[in-house]
């Protein structure tokens, strides 16, 4: 008789399956099944709004269509652009704020909590109230900018040159605290003796920063950027409410285009192929990134 039988009730193995089972089942039913369904639809000419029509198998036609469509590459470029600037700004400002907060002055707990507020808000609602701030006639943003330098009248959302920046600004405002918090954790994990040893060796503050602080905080910063990268690749809610992809398609990110194809034109087969391509892209990039990140951590 095994040792476990000393205790009454179900065996550990039964409890384990009883406890994990429901979660795995739900994830399979509501996440994996729809994904497989989407993959299957991506090989057909299915239209979800035409219920009676039998979908036909079309092979790789949808994929070829997506990849050959110039407009799709434009959306990818808009997405890449958005990701580049938001990640860059959030990395620089977030790390900067973390370095400052790490000086442990009075009240820094309270200030940290206040700084974090924007990132906890609903992105869609944030998008709505920024349309007010960006309003070319009465917006506070335009007023403040013109207060410092008179550009005259300008429209952040309505002009195709400025609109991409309008979403970058809002995303950076909202999510810089995220990188900041994670970098701060990284800074606090650096053991003091490293700096003490550096001081003894007469390393300058600048050298300490380059050789101790930066390498220790880098894995944390990379982790923050991974999370933000995945989220911004999927970005939908804030931008839909702020610019709804416009003007024209100046801020039409991949997800917004996907929504238009799937829920406005109802090209289910085609949009499923696009969704699969997007998913594979995130997954692929994510995996490579994690590998690189782990290499850096090991060093």
């Amino acid at each position: 008789m095994s040792v476990k039988k000393k205790f009454k009730g179900l065996s550990d193995k039964a409890v384990a399956w009883l406890f994990i089972g429901p979660s795995v089942f739900l994830l399979l039913a509501i996440n994996i099944y729809p994904l497989i369904y989407a993959i299957r639809m991506s090989f057909t000419n299915f239209y979800a709004n035409k219920i009676g029509r039998e979908p036909q198998f079309v092979g790789l036609k949808n994929y070829i269509k997506v990849l050959n469509k110039e407009a799709i590459w434009e959306k990818m470029q808009v997405t890449a652009n958005f990701m580049f600037w938001t990640l860059l700004l959030q990395a620089v400002i977030g790390l900067g704020l973390a370095l400052l907060l790490n000086r442990k002055f009075k009240g820094n707990e309270l200030l940290t909590t206040l700084i974090v507020l924007p990132m906890m808000l609903s992105p869609a609602v944030v998008g709505v109230f920024w349309t007010y701030l960006y309003n070319p006639q009465v917006g506070l943003f335009n007023y403040v900018v013109n207060f410092f330098y008179d550009f005259g009248s300008f429209d952040m959302i309505g002009s195709s040159e400025l609109a991409p920046w309008s979403i970058v600004i809002v995303d950076t405002w909202m999510w810089t605290p995220f990188t900041m918090l994670i970098c701060l954790a990284g800074l606090r994990s650096v053991p003091n003796y490293l700096y003490e040893a550096a001081e003894v060796d007469r390393a300058s503050k600048w050298q300490q920063f380059i050789y101790i602080t930066l390498p220790s905080v880098l894995p944390f910063l990379l982790l923050a950027l991974l999370f933000r990268g995945i989220e911004n690749f999927k970005m939908f809610d804030m931008v839909v409410e702020l610019t709804s992809g416009g003007p024209g398609s100046a801020t039409e990110l991949a997800s917004i285009n996907l929504k238009r194809e799937a829920f406005e034109k109802w090209k289910t087969g085609y949009s499923s192929a696009f969704a699969v391509i997007l998913f594979v892209t995130i997954f692929g990039f994510g995996n490579v990134y994690v590998k690189v990140m782990n290499k850096i951590k090991e060093r």
């Binding site: 009730g9 979660s23 729809p34 442990k104 009240g107 609903s122 109230f129 995130i282």
Partner: protein
């Protein structure tokens, strides 16, 4: 050089400089939120005056407009009506309008509450069970299962929205509270499992082993010993799940229309006469953001853990 203090302690000048920059940043970053709250207490005219009014006469017009539907009437008709009975009726009359009924806001807000609480409860409960099993037992393919659970978070919601839309239509779950509760439960499950596993790992195994030697079964030990010990972690996880459901937009806007729509897709549709009714949108936004701000302050010690799925614990 000043040798009295440790060379690791930043100088008081650099501390002051850092504090000043951080305070300036905090003020700037809070301006958009404060501006929305201020706008909610303006009247319709002062919300669209330029230059923007920082000092203004407070008004509850935004809140009245948020909660009511109104229609414009001729002056003669308004004169023929009996005197307004309440202050809000008077306010609406002064704009040459009459209240025609309550708006949909309360319904949307309570949908957000029902779906938020329902899905939070379910995901934390299921998450706690799974987290305990992952934390204590040797589960085959444990790391793969955990990664699988995490990877479900990488799907763009739109990618699975069409199949879920079709599935829900077949099952009769489209535009229902139950359908949305199930959906948000699943979306939050990965966060709940990962976070709670971290919290459970921190509870010494000896606690429940002692209880089991005293004659508790594994299940009893879990419910009577482990769960109470994990209460802080469970509360933090619950608040994170609640905030997610509360803020979610993509599924809500694609899968619900009348019955089960939550507040985020509704707020942008608040339109007054001749354009957006900014005070009313401000009021809706303020009421919607308030719970999240309170939650954030309660959560501040666990924020880091929550936003990184437990990857960074500090």
């Amino acid at each position: 050089m000043d040798t009295s203090r440790s060379y690791l302690e930043p100088s008081s000048f650099s501390k002051k400089l850092a504090a000043t920059i951080i305070i300036v940043y905090t003020v700037i970053t809070l301006i958009p939120i404060s501006w929305m709250v201020m706008t909610s207490f303006k009247n319709v005219n002062s919300a669209i005056s330029y230059p923007p009014e920082v000092l203004f006469e407070p008004s509850l017009e935004g809140y009245v407009n948020l909660f009511t539907n109104r229609s414009r009437q001729s002056q003669e008709y308004l004169d023929s009506l009996p005197a307004p009975e309440t202050w809000y009726e008077e306010l609406v009359r002064s704009r040459e309008m009459v209240i025609t009924g309550p708006s949909k806001f309360l319904g949307r807000y309570s949908n957000s509450m029902i779906i938020g609480f329902g899905s939070t409860f379910a995901s934390v409960f299921l998450g706690a069970l799974a987290a305990y099993a992952f934390s204590r037992f040797r589960v085959p393919l444990k790391d793969d299962l955990l990664f699988f659970i995490l990877s479900t978070r990488m799907f763009p919601p739109i990618a699975v929205a069409v199949p879920i839309f079709i599935m829900y239509r077949k099952l009769g779950l489209g535009d229902t509270h139950l359908g949305m509760i199930i959906l948000y439960t699943v979306v939050n499950l990965s966060l709940a499992v990962w976070l709670l596993k971290g919290f459970m790992d921190e509870i010494p195994k000896e606690y429940e082993e002692a209880a089991m030697i005293d004659g508790y079964s594994r299940l009893q030990a879990f419910f009577k010993v482990v769960l109470p010990q994990a209460m802080t972690g469970i509360a933090a996880t619950a608040i994170f799940c609640m905030i997610f459901s509360w803020n979610e937009y993509a599924f809500a806007v694609l899968l619900t229309q009348f019955n089960a729509q939550t507040a985020p897709p509704f707020i942008p549709t608040i339109i007054g006469e001749g354009g957006l009714d900014w005070p009313a949108i401000g009021a809706g936004t303020t009421l919607f953001l308030l719970p999240v701000m309170i939650f954030t302050i309660i959560l501040r010690k666990h924020l880091l853990r929550g936003i990184t799925f437990g990857a960074v614990r500090k």
